[in-house]
């Protein structure tokens, strides 16, 4: 098995239909996740990947159901463990195209620790966080990106916790591509996903994906009012500019806030550490036995 290698197939003239699994999404009508799903379909089509060369990895949450709606391979893991499993898949077979997906709770609450480390490893994975500032699947509790004072049944007096800033968190952890998008602009989102895939190293995209059922604050309208494209002059290679625009809450900026190019990916490091292949197994074992004799 270790020698199973393949060259991913790229076919430019694919259709979106080829990426659909035939399973009907179970999301509520009006859920932002539909837009993200469409953007994922379109991004994959744009890349022309064969569905079998792609793995969508997710956690647990409404958003994390996405892989079931796609004809690619998928791994719907457990809550918060999207990153470790995506890491394992990429380390297991660096030729696979791995897209990670999931909710804000999955990524930043229970998965917060793994997020930091996936970023600092600079794993060549694009991670789209479907950020609705709420726990959708468990029916509406405060999430790490909810605003201070956000009222839910578990925080009836409003949450006291200051929101995590996903973009700054990614930058502080060494991520090399940091973007923000909005499910209400699925074309731009699809473009951003393509850029994230093309980027060598860890690409994080915080995608606002409203939950009309449980979050009555961060709605489509809210983001339409609040979110603007990055100004033309924004220099994504300048970490200080990126940090400053990530800090802004009014407006919030959409697009590639930060990108560092030319950095080695985790996969590069692994490959460069190799001093042999499967063919060397007998030789290596002999040399070990000799060493111990």
């Amino acid at each position: 098995m270790p020698d199973q290698v393949f060259t991913p197939t790229i076919t430019p003239d694919r259709t979106v239909e080829e990426y659909k699994s035939g399973v009907k999404p179970t999301w509520c009508p009006g859920c932002g996740d539909f837009g993200v799903l469409n953007a994922v379909y379109n991004a994959l089509r744009g890349k022309g990947y064969a569905p079998e060369d792609v793995v969508l990895v997710s956690g647990i949450g409404c958003s994390s159901r996405l892989p079931f709606f796609s004809s690619t391979y998928g791994f719907h893991t457990v809550h918060g463990r999207t990153m470790p499993i995506a890491t394992g898949i990429k380390v297991g077979n660096p030729d696979l195209k791995v897209l990670a997906l999931g909710g804000d709770g999955d990524a930043f609450a229970i998965g917060g620790g793994h997020f930091i480390h996936a970023a600092r490893r600079n794993l060549d994975v694009c991670y789209v966080i479907m950020d609705n500032s709420i726990y959708g699947l468990t029916k509406g509790q405060t999430s790490p990106t909810s605003m201070v004072g956000f009222v839910t049944k578990t925080t009836p007096k409003g949450t006291p916790d200051r929101p995590v800033n996903p973009l700054q968190l990614a930058m502080a952890s060494g991520a090399t591509f940091v973007g923000r998008a909005f499910s209400g602009k699925p074309k731009e989102l699809a473009d951003l996903i393509v850029q994230g895939i093309d980027h060598k190293g860890f690409a994080i995209i915080d995608a606002y994906s409203p939950c009309p059922t449980f979050n009555k604050v961060n709605t489509f309208k809210y983001y339409r009012d609040q979110a603007v494209e990055l100004p033309r002059e924004h220099d994504a290679s300048d970490v200080m500019q990126a940090w400053a625009r990530a800090q802004s809450t009014d407006p919030v900026y959409l697009g590639v806030l930060y990108e560092a190019t030319g950095e080695a990916s985790f996969e590069d490091h692994i490959a460069s550490a190799h001093s042999g292949t499967e063919a060397d197994v007998p030789r290596v074992i002999s040399s070990i036995l000799e060493r111990y004799s």
Binding site: P2, G92, G113
Partner: protein
């Protein structure tokens, strides 16, 4: 007449001194053709504090570290105090006169050896003190110093220049000479080497790592923890040499997650940890069972609960390995019973994990993890490697062909197909037509989510059917002693070695006993245990824990067998004496119960 065996303990401050001296003696002894088996406190937590390295050598195969010490070499006062009660009556104490002056006693003969002094003034290299000690130990039982010289010449020391090397060689000789001129009991300490060839000297954890490499493990993810870290360190060196990779994860949850990811992607992968890490892996291991992902976890059991005593021994994680999951899962739990077994059992773990697409947990224990032993080089030609059944793309378009048919579309691939043996071929990402979503949610055969009652029942049964296959493929159990005996020891893990020695001792007293240690402790290999139990009047279940975890497991299956629990729980392994006592109460054996055990009997 030469002795059967000799137990030497080198004791001092935790750090390099004790272990370098111990390792050098061990290597040289093995080169000289002895069987040798060691015990030590695992790499200490923080530098300093008491530490020891115990070496037992013999002409015959050894199975335990030895109940009591024949020769104690004490580097300092604390070492003396902590070790002296382990020295047998009539044993020999060697100590560094620059560091301590122990009281005289009629329990032992003591010899001061000016280790520090010789190193400083005769060798003129203070750092050579350990080599003076090595020479002194060699001199005691007549180990040819040529073996030590050769090891030194092959070592890193040789690169430090002729002068340094020569000084170290000289240090060995001076130590040897000093002892051989002064220690009167030398003749009584002599042990004859065995003449076996082709042996390797390896630690239990390295044997595990080597087994993994041989079994086809090509990905390792782990988080450092005592006493498991050296498995990771071994593979960090070796896997890149064969195109593999080691990832240092941010914690144990991530480590097992990476293992599952790599295995999903088609690699054989594993992680190693000890109790706290295994606890953290509980949820992920449930996912492995549900999503049916082959995976291997080595748990180097140490004394718990919680952080417990990280450098001490206990067989305390069996319950967790077998029962540690919400809901009901399929897994196999194996426990090596000897050092050689660390190698073979790891291979068995990979084979079972692969064949049945389940997690396999290997319950390594501290005694085996840190033991170094001379063992026959494993015969690699007998290694059997099993790979998972994979789903292969068939573009025949022939509807009669079983399996995938390209024309029928991806629905035709049933990742979780209900099969007679419960095993369903697994598609590896990249395989056309095999796309599916691995999930921890209950799912249909086609891997879609489902809360349907009939489906859940059928899937539960499918998954549990795999356990029958696992049982059928159980690696053989260890057996020792006289099968006709009515006294039986049913045990597991490293305790088996002590039991085997106890059986020999009992046989010498004319008492017949028989021992069985299944290497597969879960599911219970009743086909191995049933015949053992058949003629037994007494079944003793010795384990190093308080509650009798293995005994309780046995009771869930054997309703009408009386199991006699025998437990020690001081963080130390069983002594042979303790086991004999269980059969022959108040027997006056020639071995003294150690302090630790005396406490742990209660």
């Amino acid at each position: 007449m030469a002795r059967q065996d000799l137990v030497i303990r080198i004791a001092g401050e935790a750090g390099e001194g004790v272990s370098i001296t111990g390792q050098m003696v061990t290597q040289a002894t093995a080169r000289a053709g002895y069987y040798v088996l060691t015990d030590s406190v695992p790499p200490a937590e923080i530098k300093g504090g008491y530490s020891f390295y115990q070496i037992r050598l013999s002409e015959k195969r050894l199975r335990s570290r030895g109940d009591s010490v024949d020769v104690l070499l004490a580097f300092n006062q604390e070492a003396f105090e902590n070790s002296i009660e382990h020295l047998r009556h009539g044993g020999i104490l060697i100590y560094d006169s620059a560091e301590l002056s122990p009281p005289e006693s009629d329990r032992y003969r003591s010899y001061s050896v000016p280790l520090t002094d010789i190193a400083k003034n005769q060798v003129e290299l203070a750092l050579s003190k350990n080599m003076v000690a090595v020479g002194a130990v060699a001199g005691l039982f007549g180990l040819d110093t040529e073996h030590i010289h050769r090891l030194l010449r092959e070592s890193k020391l040789a690169k430090k220049g002729e002068d340094i090397l020569n000084k170290n060689l000289k240090a060995v000789d001076l130590g040897y000479q000093y002892v051989s001129e002064r220690v009167a009991e030398r003749a009584s300490l002599e042990v004859r080497p065995s003449k076996l060839e082709g042996r390797i000297v390896i630690s239990g954890n390295h044997a595990v790592a080597l087994g993994a490499l041989v079994a086809g493990c090509r990905r390792y993810a782990g988080y450092p923890i005592t006493p498991a870290t050296d498995i990771m360190e071994f593979l960090a060196d070796e896997l890149p040499r064969v195109g593999g990779a080691v990832v240092q994860a941010e914690d144990e949850i991530a480590a097992i997650g990476m293992v599952l990811g790599a295995s999903y992607a088609g690699q054989k992968a594993m992680t190693a940890t000890s109790g706290p890490g295994l606890s953290l892996m509980t949820e992920m291991l449930g996912l492995a069972s549900m999503a049916e992902i082959p995976s291997v976890v080595i748990d180097c059991q140490r004394a718990g609960p919680s952080t417990g005593m990280p450098t001490r021994h206990e067989q305390g994680d069996l319950n967790l390995a077998v029962y540690g999951a919400h809901g009901e899962v399929q897994r196999v739990v194996l426990a090596p019973a000897s050092l050689m077994d660390c190698f073979w059992t790891t291979i068995a773990a990979f084979n079972l994990a692969e064949e049945f697409q389940i997690p396999a947990i290997v319950l390594q224990d501290t005694v085996l993890a840190v033991r170094t032993e001379s063992i026959p080089q494993p015969d690699l030609s007998t290694v059997n490697i099993v790979n998972r059944q994979t789903f292969a793309y068939r573009d025949a378009g022939d509807a009669t062909e079983p399996g995938y048919d390209a024309a029928s579309g991806p629905e035709r691939y049933l990742r979780y197909q209900i099969t007679p043996d419960g095993v369903s071929p697994m598609a590896i990402p990249g395989t056309p037509g095999g796309a599916y979503v691995a999930t921890g949610l209950e799912h249909t055969q086609a891997a879609n989510t489902s809360s349907d009652a009939r489906n859940h029942a059928a899937m539960t049964e499918k998954r549990f059917r795999k356990m029958d296959g696992v049982l059928a493929k159980a690696p053989p159990a260890h057996e020792y002693g006289d099968p006709s005996a009515e006294i039986g020891f049913l045990t597991w893990g490293s305790t088996f070695g002590v039991v085997a020695e106890a059986i020999d001792k009992l046989a010498a007293q004319g008492i017949k006993a028989h021992a069985l240690a299944p290497r597969m402790v879960w599911p219970l290999p009743t086909h191995q245990i049933d015949p053992f139990l058949k003629n037994k009047r007494i079944v003793i279940v010795p384990e190093v824990n308080y509650t009798g975890q293995f005994a309780n497991l046995l009771k869930t299956h054997y309703q009408h067998v009386e199991f006699t629990r025998l437990n020690v729980y001081g963080g130390q392994p069983f002594s042979v004496a303790r086991l004999i006592e269980a059969v022959v109460p108040n027997a006056s054996t020639d071995v003294a119960a150690t302090r630790e055990e005396a406490a742990a009997h209660a």
